[in-house]
Each structure stands twice: as structure tokens, then as C-alpha cells.
């Protein structure tokens, strides 16, 4: 990160600094976060199938999906910090995403503990409800975020 700072001040400079940074300044954290969201959504599906089949394989899949989602979320947070420090262009209406995502991750952490129980009650009912709630929050967050961008044109230069 020191390098980036040096580059900014050394080779660009003055009022042009921000604009020249833009083409290479795409943030990496949304790409990482997308994978964790896929894991959490997948866990809802496997939880649902476990509830209907009571086949332990699906519960095991849920356990690993939630765990993987949490680990990737940790990487996403690190990526976010790197993006901030590196002054990458963080999308303007970031707060709905950040808050919604943070809540989803926190609930998934609780869900990981619920899923650490043994057998049926690791999923039904609390685990399944939490997995579902996480998906709802992520959908809602996505909708609010994109509404800001596309309907209210927040953070979009005209």
C-alpha cells in the first residue's frame, strides 16, 4: 500500500491524481464478497433440502458452505481495507451494501454455531431460518443498493 501511495504522489500529482487513478482503480472487495454471498445462498438451499430429506449429507454441505462463506467474507473485509487504503474507487452508495453484508455475515456466524450442533436441530428450525434470513437480507441489500444507483442515480456521474 505504501507503493501505491508513493506512485500517486510521485508520478501523478496535483489535481489530476484522482482521475488518472480511475482506470486501474477498480476495487477488488465486491468480487470477493460475491463468492461468500454465493456460499450463504447455497447453504440456504442445502438446509432446505436437509429439512425435506433428513439426509445428513446436506447438513454437512451447509456446514462447509457457511464456514467457507465466513472465511471468504474475512478475505472480503481485508480486500475492502486494501481498497480503502489503496484509494481505489469504492462505489459511492457503499453503506447499504456494507451494512447489509455485515449483518448477513454476523447472522451467518451465529448460524455456523447453530450448525455446529449435532443432527436435526443443527438445521431445523433455527439454522434453516437463519439461512433464509441471510438470503432475504442479501436480496434486500442488493435491491436497495441497485435502486440507489439506477433509480436515484446516486454515485453515477451524468
Amino acid at each position: 500500500m505504501q507503493d501505491t501511495g508513493l506512485t500517486d504522489t510521485t508520478f501523478t500529482g496535483g489535481t489530476n491524481a484522482r482521475s488518472t487513478a480511475k482506470p486501474s482503480g477498480q476495487p477488488i472487495h465486491p468480487i470477493v464478497a460475491a463468492f461468500s454471498i454465493a456460499c450463504f445462498a447455497g447453504a440456504f438451499v442445502t438446509d432446505f433440502v436437509y429439512w425435506r430429506t433428513v439426509a445428513v449429507m446436506w447438513e454437512t454441505l451447509s456446514d462447509w458452505l457457511i464456514t467457507a462463506g465466513l472465511i471468504i467474507a474475512g478475505v472480503a473485509v481485508i480486500a475492502f481495507v486494501i481498497d480503502l487504503v489503496g484509494r481505489k474507487q469504492v462505489r459511492t452508495p457503499a453503506w447499504p451494501y456494507a451494512v447489509g453484508y455485515a449483518l448477513a455475515v454476523l447472522l451467518s456466524l451465529v448460524n455456523a454455531f447453530v450448525h455446529s450442533r449435532d443432527a436435526y436441530t443443527a438445521v431445523v428450525p433455527t439454522g434453516l431460518m437463519l439461512s433464509g434470513l441471510v438470503v432475504v437480507i442479501l436480496l434486500f441489500t442488493g435491491w436497495v443498493g441497485s435502486a440507489l444507483v439506477y433509480r436515484h442515480r446516486v454515485g453515477v456521474s451524468t
Binding site: 433428513v54 439426509a55 445428513v56 449429507m57 447438513e59 454437512t60 456446514d63 462447509w64 464456514t67 459511492t92 452508495p93 453503506w95 447499504p96 451494512v99 447489509g100 449483518l103 454476523l106 447472522l107 451465529v110 455456523a112 454455531f113 447453530v114 455446529s116 450442533r117 449435532d118 443432527a119 436435526y120 436441530t121 443443527a122 431445523v124 437480507i137 436497495v144 440507489l148 436515484h152 446516486v154 454515485g155
Partner: protein, 451 residues
């Protein structure tokens, strides 16, 4: 931009409320770890509180300390000393007819990681000092006059997580975790090099959650009884993994054929014949993670054909909601065990006392070794208790016999496992944390033999 801030603000607030609820939930889950007085749940028909489900699994292992020059503590009238030390995870003991003592040094096979939780479980096992490598062998001790072994030899080596041993005539049976193997044995022999012959396979890997296979020969020598533990805490590895597990097997010694003698016994780690009625008794480790006072481990007579509840229910018809689909047909037949030892003590050895060295009040009763709890506060077990018997049934509260496995700071110096009564009537205790075999005997010179 102002618009965005406004929306974000309201979204944030409603989310914050939810977040607080979640945090409060975490806080609540932190409570209720404290167990009640274990003495209240000893004996027949123990009180069974409502079950609770944890958010954060209860883990409370004793830190590991060393014995140094100290020994366990025994009550007035008894004395204790180390028969031998320096074993590799001594798990069970067997006394041969000539008085030689077999020390089975063993530990379970490496537990596979099927769920993220298994990583934590393995770490806790290591923390408790229970992950030490087992010797996978049997060491023979021959005691001399002063109670210290004059001879110590490797009796059998290269075994596969052995636990139970039984001698019938000249046939010595070793219950590895995956098979019963027969070896030829002659009186006085101090090591066996002959290859073994497999009598029968036993349920082993790849999961092998409860790996110990206790072994007991019938008095006439025609049958072997095998305690086979479940393959999970409570069916989290699927009911298919439990095939012929959580049961006592009856194996025909001639053919190797077996039948399920009794089922629904989650982990029957010790088997013994009650000396008065000659009935089969077992110590059984019950399920975890539904409360500090659930489910009490127990000592019970094992009736032919009986079902004792696991996994569907405990102590008769108390249903476990973690098991689906349930089996009401089986639950209706579930027999409650005879005698609760209190929760999470982990009884791993039982010896019915028919000797004469120890004071008369110990005769005819059962010694039970309690390996000690790992998921309960305060700690429970970590001692050897005595359950008095009368008329073939337990007749009073359990008494502490060998204590001091926990030091004053609640650090574990040892954990008792296998029990045996030696030829001169002393009680032998395998300690798989202190890697020692302790011998408890009478300190009354009139009853104490020179051994």
C-alpha cells in the same frame, strides 16, 4: 447524495436492532453452562432437567499437570502406589490366571474431519491431553513381593487400537477397534509372537467415533460379549453409520457368528459379571450437548434383547429432538438403566469386586472409573467410585475411592480408565493421562497380602 445518506441511515438503524437481538442471543447462550450437584443424580431414577440446546458448544477441559512425586488419594484403610509408569496411553487392564497383568496401551485411530466442528473437537481432544499416541501394544507386568513389577515385557505389539482382552483356556482374545483376534497363550508366557487369527470383524473406520471395544467372556467360555460404541454423539454422521453399533454383541467363540445381545447403549465401555446373580452389567457413556446435567452416564444390567434408548430417547421415553426420523415403536420398548452415575463423568471401566484384600464393605460391589467430563462446569468425574451391591442390585450411593486426579487448581494429573482386580485382591487403575498403572490395596497388615 443526501437522499442516499437518508436511506442508508434508516436501513442501518433497523439492521442495528436486529444486530442487537443477535448479540443478545449470543449472550444468552453463554449462560446455563453451570451444572447442578452431581450427587443428586446418582442412583436409580435420577432427576432429568429439561434439555437445552447450545449456541456455543460447552467446552471445559481440565488443564494438564504432572503427578511429580504425588499419588492419587484413597480413603482411610486403603493405600495406593504406582505399580508401573511410563506407558503410552494405558487404556485397559487384564489379569491373567497366573497373576501377570496385561496393560493395553492404546488410543483411537485418527479422527477424520467431516465437518468444520471436527477441527475444533480434535483441538479440544489435544488440549485435554487425550490425543497422545497410543502404544498399540500390550505390556505384561509380573509383580514381585513388594508390589513393584520384577518383569516388564512387550506382550503383543502392532495392534490396531486394542481395548478389550479375554482369555478362555489357551485362547487369548484381543478386541482391536475393527476385529477380535485370537492368539495362542500358554501359562507363564511373557510375549506372543505367533500371528493372530481373526475371529470376527467389528465395526471400525472410517469414522470410528467411539473406537473402544470392551470384551468379556461368558463364564462357560462359549461366548464373548463385546461393547461396541456408537459412531457419533447423536447420529450426526447419519443413521447408516450406526449399523450394529451402540450395542453389546454376543459372539459365538466357535464360529465367530454374532448377534445383537442388547442395543441402544450409546457407548458401553466396560462389561462385568455381577458375582451374586451372574448377570451381565455394563457402564455406558450417554449423549452430550443437551445440558450440564443431561444425560447421566450409567451402570446397568444388560438384559438379553433389551433396547436402552439411544439414539431416540434416554432413560426410558425421554425423546431426543436431534434424532429424525424418530422411532416411536422402539422408544416404547426402551428400558431405563438401573443406576445413574451423574452426567458426563465418562465411566470407562468397571470391576465387580470379588476379592478379599480390600475391606469387607467393598466385597460384591462395583468399582467404576470415571475418566472425567470435558463439557460441563464444574468438572465431574476424574475419580474411581464404588457402588455397593446387595442381592445383585446397587444398594446405595456411590462412594469416592480413588480421587486426587484433579489437583487443588482443578488441573488434571491423571484420568482413570481401565480397572482390574489383581490375583491378590488389589484394585488396579490404568491412568491414560499420567501414563501410570496405580494399585490400590488395604493398608491393614492382617488383610493385606504381601503383594
Amino acid at each position: 447524495m443526501m437522499h442516499a445518506v437518508k436511506i442508508a441511515h434508516s436501513v442501518k438503524r433497523s439492521h442495528l436492532d436486529l444486530l442487537l437481538v443477535a448479540v443478545a442471543g449470543l449472550g444468552l447462550a453463554g449462560c446455563n453452562y453451570e451444572g447442578g450437584d452431581p450427587r443428586k443424580e446418582i442412583g436409580a431414577n435420577p432427576p432429568l432437567p429439561a434439555l437445552q440446546q447450545y449456541l456455543i458448544p460447552p467446552i471445559h477441559v481440565a488443564k494438564v499437570a504432572a503427578w511429580g512425586k504425588e499419588t492419587p488419594t484413597v480413603p482411610e484403610g486403603l493405600q495406593v502406589h504406582a505399580l508401573a509408569t511410563g506407558f503410552e496411553h494405558p487404556r485397559s487392564l487384564y489379569v491373567l490366571p497366573n497373576g501377570d497383568v496385561l496393560v493395553v496401551e492404546s488410543n483411537g485411530p485418527k479422527a477424520p474431519i467431516y465437518r468444520p466442528k471436527d477441527i475444533v473437537t480434535n483441538w479440544v481432544t489435544w488440549l485435554a491431553g487425550a490425543a497422545a499416541k497410543g502404544g498399540n501394544r500390550i505390556t505384561l507386568l509380573r509383580a514381585n513381593g513388594d508390589g513393584t513389577p520384577e518383569l516388564r515385557t512387550t506382550f503383543l505389539d502392532h495392534l490396531n487400537s486394542p481395548f478389550g482382552v479375554a482369555l478362555v483356556g489357551n485362547d487369548l482374545y484381543v478386541a482391536n477397534t475393527d476385529a477380535i483376534v485370537r492368539y495362542p497363550y500358554q501359562d507363564g508366557q511373557t510375549s506372543i509372537t505367533a500371528p493372530g487369527t481373526k475371529l470376527t470383524d467389528l465395526p471400525g473406520g472410517p469414522i470410528d467415533h467411539h473406537w473402544t471395544k470392551s470384551l468379556l467372556a461368558s463364564p462357560d467360555g462359549s461366548k464373548l460379549y463385546v461393547g461396541v460404541g456408537s459412531n457419533s454423539n447423536i447420529t450426526e454422521n447419519g443413521i447408516g453409520a450406526e449399523y450394529e453399533r451402540a450395542a453389546v454383541w454376543e459372539v459365538d467363540r466357535a464360529s465367530g457368528a454374532h448377534r445383537i445381545f442388547a442395543s441402544g447403549l450409546r457407548n458401553p465401555t466396560g462389561l462385568a459379571w455381577e458375582p451374586e446373580t451372574h448377570k451381565l452389567w455394563a457402564v455406558v457413556n450417554e449423549r452430550d450437548e443437551i445440558g450440564p446435567d443431561l444425560v447421566p452416564d450409567y451402570l446397568t444390567s444388560v438384559q438379553d434383547g433389551a433396547f436402552y434408548g439411544w439414539p431416540y430417547s434416554y432413560y426410558g421415553q425421554h425423546l431426543d429432538p436431534r434424532v429424525q426420523p424418530q422411532r416411536p415403536d422402539l422408544v416404547a420398548t426402551a428400558v431405563p438403566p438401573d443406576y445413574a452415575l451423574s452426567s458426563h463423568v465418562a465411566p470407562l471401566g468397571v470391576a465387580m469386586y470379588a476379592g478379599t484384600n480390600l475391606p469387607a464393605n467393598y466385597r460384591g460391589g462395583a468399582f467404576v472409573s470415571e475418566h472425567g467430563s470435558w463439557d460441563r462446569t464444574p468438572l465431574n468425574g476424574y475419580k474411581v467410585v464404588f457402588v455397593p451391591f446387595s442381592g445383585g442390585k446397587p444398594s446405595g450411593p456411590a462412594q469416592d475411592v480413588v480421587t486426587g486426579f484433579l489437583d487443588a487448581n482443578n488441573q488434571a494429573r491423571g484420568r482413570p480408565v481401565g480397572l482390574a482386580v489383581d490375583r491378590s485382591g488389589g484394585l488396579l487403575v490404568a491412568d491414560d493421562l499420567g501414563d501410570t498403572v496405580w494399585r490400590v490395596s488395604s493398608n491393614d497388615p492382617r488383610s493385606a497380602s504381601s503383594n
